[in-house]
């Protein structure tokens, strides 16, 4: 499939977010374009996860606007964001531990199901057809992520690296346009990281999904992303291509910890 970076998919304008007196985000603006891999980096506590939470409607910013696919919104609940095509994974794996890999990923498909609980419980008629169509989609993801061998294993029994992969699978099950990945490689060894990188590139190329990535491994970020922004103390201190960021003195200072004057 041809991959072209297109128009703005998600625009963030002058977002400010505070919890009581604590300012988490201050006046942040950036655009994410269709089919790009966009990274958000910054030291601990810079507001990266808060930013993702704002994008998928979990936090409601006091100021600013977000527009997604041309639609402006001030406030939105996570469910609505999901319906519109925003999926995410979490920094700490948030799966249904007692359920199998297959069922976890099927759960991600729930939004796409139209039959109601009654028919689903009976597993008859349209519910059955629907289940089969969705199962096919999920099997495709299982094949894509190479997790056939753990299809029936309860997720809680899996090693961390695989749990992360299952979580990615669940996000993919929604067939999202925008995929938010919150530290997808945290706590992984080199081999697992390499696998994850390959999956991210493949998702982006094969499904044409736009990806927003938070990651601490600079090597990964610089290799994967086309553009990135740097946050520090809730402010955007830089934006650009990996090469531009690498040489940016402000960024270097933020990471090395120069004393803040204000």
């Amino acid at each position: 499939m041809e991959r072209k970076i297109g128009e703005t998919l998600l625009g963030v304008e002058h977002i400010s977010l505070s919890f009581g007196g604590v300012k988490a985000l201050t006046d942040i603006s950036f655009n994410i374009r269709e089919k790009e891999v966009f990274a958000i980096i910054g030291p601990n506590g810079a507001g990266k996860t808060s930013m993702l939470n704002v994008i998928n409607g979990f936090y409601h910013p006091q100021q600013g606007e977000i527009h997604f696919k041309g639609l402006h919104r001030k406030q939105m609940r996570p469910h609505e964001a999901a319906v519109q095509g925003i999926a995410r994974t979490f920094q700490n794996v948030a799966l249904f531990k007692g359920m199998s890999t297959l069922n976890n990923i099927m759960a991600g498909r729930n939004l796409k199901m139209k039959t109601n609980l009654f028919w689903q419980a009976l597993y008859y008629g349209p519910a059955r057809t629907e289940e089969m169509i969705n199962r096919e989609y999920v099997e495709d993801i299982i094949d894509f992520l190479e997790i056939q061998s753990i299809r029936r294993t309860p997720v809680g029994k899996l090693p961390y690296g695989l749990q992360k992969r299952v979580e990615l699978g669940r996000a993919l099950a929604m067939a999202p346009e925008l995929l938010l990945l919150d530290e997808p490689m945290a706590g992984m060894n080199i081999e697992e990281k390499q696998d994850m990188c390959r999956f991210i590139i493949d998702i982006n190329e094969q499904y044409g999904t736009t990806i927003v990535l938070i990651e601490h491994d600079m090597g990964v970020v610089m290799d994967l992303s086309e553009r990135l922004i740097v946050l520090d103390y809730g402010r955007k201190i830089a934006e650009g291509t990996p090469d531009e960021i690498r040489g940016n003195q402000v960024v270097i200072d933020a990471y090395l910890g120069v004393a803040h004057t204000n």
């Binding site: 096919e136 099997e139 094949d143 190479e146 056939q148 061998s149 299809r151 190329e205 094969q206």
Partner: protein, 656 residues
């Protein structure tokens, strides 16, 4: 009786057999592959079409009679079909080990002059691209799974289905082409080129003809009464000769169904779903299965555990007798029946061996208790002894005459003889044609009369069963002339869970001695249950209690050896427990955990000298140790030497 008929006809190549099955049992399944969570199947007539389309497509891009086709990947129906397609065109398939790195593949591809390669996926394609510049003969690469292959637009890379598409077009213009090509094939044609893994030096290409494979397959089908309704799971490497017999030649001769797992990690689940009737596995797999069962039983509730223990004890005496067709009393039969419902049935189902009528193991010695476990459950597990050069079969155990420590009698059609140094020689219809492009090695291994040297030493027991003891070059003589087979004794020792490694010495010595490394987990566990406190490996291995424990193991090995007249003199007289584990980091083991006897002998020369001197009861040693972070240190230890009792002769054992 259609099965007999198929055998009798003049179907002397695999493609001819395929066309015959397509006619005779066109609607029966030939292959299954689990994909997207579902078993997809192909009937014999569908397989014939797939092979035909692929073969025609290959011709279209330039495949000629005699060309070599490299096949690399996991066990997939399409890769098996690739091999058959090459054979149909008079070409020679060369399957490679899919786990090899590019450099290892280089030698095989260069040596075989492979012109085409059909590979499973991007991973294998990448390996070939890495070395393609140095392989002038390699012209085309074809991949089976399109995933990740978007950006590979080199003109020499093809997608499997595209080639078949071209083939279909070719076929519609030349409808008789494929059949004519298949008819040109002859039993004496070279059917396959298999590279031996090559523990010594570069791998050698073993050339096998259609006759080699097909006659061997026919003999084995008769020997074990295989039918067209067998189900097998193809999960061992396609480059290994066994897979070419079990999953290809036998299947094509008799027409049973070969099932391919979803991927290498799902084999155990797939096994359960397929329930093969005929199964092959190396000893390590049986051992893993047994360990898993035992661990799970440890965790089971008390009632279940005692039920398991009771019925397994019963099975050991009754089950094996039933399997061997020996008489059992009515009560025993009844109890075994109850056990079948409560324990054996569910257990076999859990292991995926519910329907297994016949199971084989080969390659290494299998622990008697593992062997016994499976046989007592009613699984007819047997050992065979084979080689790539023999198209697998040299010896196998006939039904009802199965013993844990022999490899059975000569296979139908196989002649055996022993040389003076006890090296085993054989001659059979399966004997290989030659080593590819290596007449010297061929002459070294195979004499003009067709006798092949195995390199293994062995002897026949009273019932004519062959017992393989060691590599012929490792077998020595003791001063009194007794055969000394170190690996044979070490394996016997290692079958005890408490012994991790053992090195025995006896060549040109008056008596045999052993250096033993305890298994820290098993012995540690044993010590904990006895409230025996210890600080670590060195401490534990020096304990008198542990020596007492190991004494029993050594003496029971001695009792075992005493049963063999020829080996009775090589019983272990003195042994010591080493203060450290043998370690690959210290160069004592190879990376595949095989003991490097020579290095151990050099490094622990002091210990061996002490073992050889009957006066010494202790020995001091300083030895170098490499820690995991690469630092080295010296460990000092004062090791105890123990004497173990030996048994004089066969007659005395019986009396005692």
């Amino acid at each position: 009786m259609t099965e007999k008929k198929a055998i009798d006809r003049k179907l002397d190549t695999i493609p001819k057999l395929l066309l015959d099955h397509a006619r005779e049992r066109g609607n029966r399944p030939a292959n299954r592959l689990k994909n997207f969570g579902i078993w997809q199947s192909w009937t014999w007539s569908e397989v014939a079409e797939e092979v035909r389309d692929l073969a025609c497509g290959l011709v279209k891009i330039g495949f000629q009679r005699g060309d070599k086709l490299a096949v690399i990947g996991d066990n997939r129906p399409r890769l098996y079909w690739s091999m058959v397609a090459a054979q149909a065109l008079g070409g020679i398939p060369v399957p490679l080990y899919q786990n090899s790195v590019a450099e290892e593949m280089f030698h095989v591809l260069e040596n075989s002059d492979a012109k085409f390669a059909i590979v499973q996926n991007q991973e294998q394609t990448d390996k070939l691209l890495e070395i393609k510049d140095r392989l002038p003969h390699l012209e085309f690469i074809c991949y089976e799974e399109p995933r990740g292959m978007r950006d590979y637009n080199q003109e020499f890379i093809f997608y499997y289905k595209d080639i078949q598409q071209t083939g279909r077009a070719f076929q519609s213009i030349n409808p008789d082409y494929f059949l004519t090509e298949v008819e040109k094939g002859d039993g004496s044609d070279i059917s396959i080129l298999l590279y031996t893994s090559g523990t010594t030096g570069e791998p050698k290409g073993v050339v096998l003809t259609s006759d080699n494979l097909i006659i061997t397959a026919r003999n084995s089908i008769d020997f074990d009464n295989l039918t067209s309704s067998e189900e097998v799971l193809a999960y061992l490497p396609m480059a290994w000769v066994g897979d070419n017999i079990f999953s290809l030649a036998q299947a094509y001769v008799i027409g049973f169904c070969v099932n391919c797992p979803e991927n290498p990690e799902t084999v155990m689940t797939d096994l359960k779903e397929i329930g093969p009737t005929y199964y092959f596995a190396p000893p390590a797999i049986y051992e893993t299965v047994l360990t898993k069962v035992m661990i799970r039983m440890e965790d089971a509730s008390k009632i279940k555990r005692s039920m398991f223990n009771y019925f397994m004890e019963l099975a050991k005496t009754v089950g094996i007798r039933i399997l061997d067709g020996k008489p059992v009393s009515f009560l025993e039969k009844f109890l075994y029946g109850v056990g079948k419902i409560l324990v054996y049935g569910p257990l076999r189902n859990n292991m995926g061996l519910s329907r297994t009528r016949l199971a084989y193991t080969a390659g290494e010695a299998i622990g008697p208790e593992i062997f016994e476990f499976f046989r007592s459950l009613g699984i007819n597990i047997k050992q065979l002894y084979g080689q790539t050069e023999a198209s697998v079969f040299v010896c196998a155990q006939p039904d009802g005459q199965v013993k844990a420590d022999t490899v059975g009698t000569a296979y139908p059609g196989v002649e055996l003889r022993l040389a003076d140094n006890n090296e085993v020689f054989y001659r059979s219809p399966g004997v290989f044609h030659s080593y590819y492009k290596n007449p010297e090695s061929t002459a070294d291994t195979k004499d003009p009369e067709g006798w092949v040297a195995t390199g293994d030493a062995g002897f026949f027991d009273d019932e004519g069963h062959l017992k393989i003891i060691d590599r012929a070059k490792d077998v020595g003589r003791m001063t009194d002339g007794t055969l000394f087979a170190p690996k044979y004794i070490e394996n016997k020792l290692k079958f005890f869970p408490f012994i991790k490694e053992a090195v025995t010495f006896g060549d040109e010595k008056a008596y045999a001695s052993a250096v033993i490394c305890i298994d820290i987990e098993a012995v540690g566990n044993w010590a904990e249950r006895r409230n025996l406190a210890y600080s670590g490996y060195t401490d534990l291995s020096a304990r008198d209690e542990v020596y007492d424990l190991l004494q029993e193991c050594v003496e029971s090995v001695n009792a075992d050896l005493a049963r063999d007249e020829k080996l009775s003199g090589s019983q272990i007289k003195r042994y010591m427990l080493l203060h450290k584990e043998l370690d690959a980091d210290d160069g004592e083991l190879t990376r595949t955990r095989k003991v490097r006897r020579r290095i151990v002998a050099e490094k622990y020369a002091v210990l061996i000298a002490a073992l050889d001197d009957p006066q010494q009861t202790h020995c001091e040693i300083d030895s170098q140790m490499t820690f995991e972070d690469g630092r080295t240190g010296t460990v000092h230890a004062n090791l105890q030497i123990r004497e173990s009792s030996t048994i004089k002769s066969h007659v005395q054992t019986l009396a005692a």
